[in-house]
């Protein structure tokens, strides 16, 4: 399996997570109750505006999800390609890219935070959405970024480099092939 195939597998896994997180957020923010009490009171007699505000806020969160997971995919792809170029002779050497894996994970979490600051706080979405919905969305996204990066790298990386991904032996691998 080539490095590009691994990148493609990582893309599929990220798309699966994007879809799942989007559906969750979509249903989470699917009613007027997802908006702040003050907003609902202000536009109580204008359901169309309320729906417009709700829809815009939810889509901003979905943007946040898509962008954050896109960054995760890019970072995981870079890491997978770097790992692909390694020829470890032992489990110790197979774990030699764990440090980089952690750094990329931290970067993807930092990127998620930065994107959230720009997309959500920059557009004052927190002033429209109920705090419970926003907190739940942040949790979903945070967990998704952590999980998708771990799953995508653990599953897609070539077998001998799996020790670089913590707890990767809990997941199946996609490749059983010669280097």
């Amino acid at each position: 399996m080539t490095g590009l195939m691994r990148v493609f597998w990582s893309l599929l896994i990220h798309m699966g997570f994007i879809l799942t997180a989007t559906v969750l957020v979509y249903f989470l923010g699917g009613s007027e109750n997802a908006l702040l009490e003050a907003v609902r009171t202000q536009y109580a007699d204008d359901p169309a505006t309320l729906e417009e505000i709700r829809s815009a806020a939810v889509w901003k969160i979905i943007d946040w999800i898509v962008l954050s997971l896109a960054v995760s995919w890019i970072l995981s792809s870079i890491w997978l390609l770097l790992a692909e170029s390694q020829r470890p002779r032992s489990y110790q050497e197979g774990g030699s890219r764990r440090g980089l894996w952690v750094i990329f994970l931290v970067i993807s979490l930092a990127a998620m935070t930065f994107i959230g600051w720009v997309v959500i706080w920059g557009n004052h979405v927190q002033g429209d959405l109920a705090s419970a919905v926003l907190t739940a969305s942040m949790l979903i996204l945070g967990v998704s970024v952590l999980l998708v990066y771990w799953v995508a790298t653990a599953v897609s990386v070539k077998t001998v480099m799996r020790p670089s991904v913590p707890l990767s032996n809990l997941l199946p691998g996609i490749s059983k092939e010669k280097a």
Binding site: R87, R89, Y91, N169, K178
Partner: protein
């Protein structure tokens, strides 16, 4: 087909030791009966070979199915699937429960053997042929024949004439082929110099030839006899003054060899004892730098010519029906010589030596310095653990411990043999077929009888493994430790076959360490 290998004397035993290494590499026939004949039963060389044979057999016994959860499949399914080549030859000790026959006992002398109860005329003849006193007639034979081949030959013949002696009895039974018309290949190896080998080699071969040509022999025409005669290839330091007259010195080796070769020349003209005959010599002498007359102290390091002779033995034993065909007298003696100054794989008179012996040395190195640690690791609470845990399944290391211990003991012997060969070869080796120097124990003080010790573990094991075996052009094997590790993690065909438990681990590691 029945195959028999008989090593006569200390040098013969050392050739058998080298043959055991080649058998472990998978270069031998499916079965082999191995026997050592030495008057010096406590001889260190013989004892070492006997221990090697014992360890080899113990390894096979441990993995042959006595512990059904951990076994190695040496037979294969027969559907194109071959068994594991490593130690595939079933080795049987020629003399029942032992591989060694000491013809005369420890304290015997020639006088006790054939010099008692003689008539006056017989006694005169005895005195005429053999010097009185400790030089010959009363020489204690418990430490071998000490270079007096005529003394040894007389003593040995007297023992061989007893039909109940273990050698004649067991070999005659095997030569009969179990009542069916089965081909039997017998290979005898010994030295042309020294005592026991020089006396026993032609004597035993002639006795075997006598049996196969006797009128009542039922398996006539199906017994092939081959032999390898070791010409002088090593020298001792001068012996002590009080031993000077009782042992062979280096200066005496060549004249004695010349006499021996003249004897063989005459023998071949009158009696075709051998169907194939191999002579092994060396340009220079390997100087051992010490002298031991015999007994347990005589533990000579393994030397290159013995490995060549072993390859010759397996060259013969791997032969089929063509061995039974008469060959012109001028082709009966095989002569080969190295074309290069330094030893290379292609010099060995046997196909696949590089592939098989190279793989064995790589496997031994990889097991000792990489796999052993993985096997010893605890299985994780969650997940499948390393590849040895995955392959061994539910079997625990404790269940397989006897077999794993037998394996490590055998691999220790093989690695030590390879390291000593490399170390003692000196100028003949330069960029030779393998390189184990990186694993030498630097704290070991080099001794002539114990030139090398290997470390138990090495932090750079996987890296050094890649440099263990070389091609003849000096290049390293391309299939390096990274490729081996990758295959062990990903290639499920490595453990294919009927192996079980840790037998799958052994099979996978052996197959993964192949050269290409």
């Amino acid at each position: 087909m029945i195959n028999i290998l008989i090593g006569v004397g200390g040098t013969g035993a050392k050739v058998v030791e080298a043959t055991m290494v080649l058998l472990a590499a998978g270069l031998g026939p499916k079965n082999l009966h191995v026997g050592l004949v030495d008057q010096d039963n406590a001889n260190g060389n013989v004892a070492r070979t006997r221990a090697f044979i014992s360890d080899y057999r113990e390894f096979r016994r441990s993995w042959a199915g006595s512990a059904p959860d951990n076994m190695i499949d040496w037979k294969g399914s027969g559907r194109g699937e071959e068994g594991l080549p490593f130690c595939r030859t079933e080795v049987t000790e020629l003399f029942g429960d032992t591989s060694t026959w000491c013809p005369g006992g420890d304290q015997t002398t020639l006088r006790n053997t054939i010099g008692l109860n003689l008539t006056d005329k017989q006694k005169d003849l005895f005195d005429l042929l053999f010097m009185p006193g400790e030089e010959e007639q009363d020489l204690t034979l418990g430490e071998g024949y000490r270079g007096r081949a005529h003394v040894g030959a007389a003593a040995l013949i007297s023992k061989l004439t007893d039909p109940a002696n273990p050698l004649t009895a067991n070999v005659t039974e095997l030569m009969a082929g179990g009542g069916s018309r089965t081909q039997v290949n017998i290979f005898v190896v010994g030295s042309a110099f020294g005592g026991t080998g020089a006396a026993g080699f032609p004597t035993i071969a002639r006795e075997l030839n006598r049996i196969r040509t006797s009128r009542n022999f039922t398996n006539k025409g199906n017994v092939a006899i081959g032999g390898a005669l070791m010409l002088p290839y090593f020298g001792f330091a001068p012996p002590d003054a009080n031993e000077k007259d009782l042992v062979v010195t280096t200066d005496e080796l060549l004249p004695k060899t010349q006499l021996a070769l003249e004897h063989y020349g005459n023998l071949f003209e009158s009696e075709q004892a051998f169907d194939r005959f191999y002579l092994v010599g060396w340009d220079r002498f390997f100087q051992l730098g010490y002298h031991q007359a015999g007994n347990a102290e005589q533990v000579n390091p393994a030397l290159l010519p013995e490995l060549f002779a072993a390859a010759g033995a397996l060259n013969f034993l791997s032969g089929g029906a063509e061995l039974l065909q008469p060959v012109p007298a001028e082709e009966r003696v095989r002569i080969c010589a190295r074309e290069t100054k330094h030893v290379r794989w292609s010099d060995f008179p046997l196909p696949n030596v590089q592939a098989r012996l190279g793989q064995l040395l790589r496997f031994a190195t990889y097991w000792r310095f990489v796999v052993g640690d993985l096997v010893a690791q605890r299985r994780p609470w969650i997940g499948k653990g390393n590849w040895t845990h995955r392959l061994s399944g539910k079997t625990t290391r404790e269940d397989a411990l006897p077999g794993l211990t037998a394996l490590e003991t055998l691999l220790d012997r093989i690695l030590r043999f390879g390291a000593v060969i490399e170390e003692t070869a000196l100028d003949d080796w330069d960029a030779g077929p393998w390189r184990l120097g990186a694993f030498h124990d630097p704290s070991h003080k080099r001794q002539p009888t114990d030139p090398v010790r290997l470390v138990r573990s090495h932090p750079e094991g996987p890296a050094l493994f890649s440099e263990t075996v070389r091609n003849d052009d000096g290049s390293e094997i391309r299939r390096d430790a990274a490729a081996v590790f990758n295959d062990l993690e990903t290639d499920e065909k490595l453990e294919a076959g009927g192996h079980r438990g840790y037998g799958r681990v052994v099979a996978a590691a052996f197959n993964a360490t192949r050269l290409s």
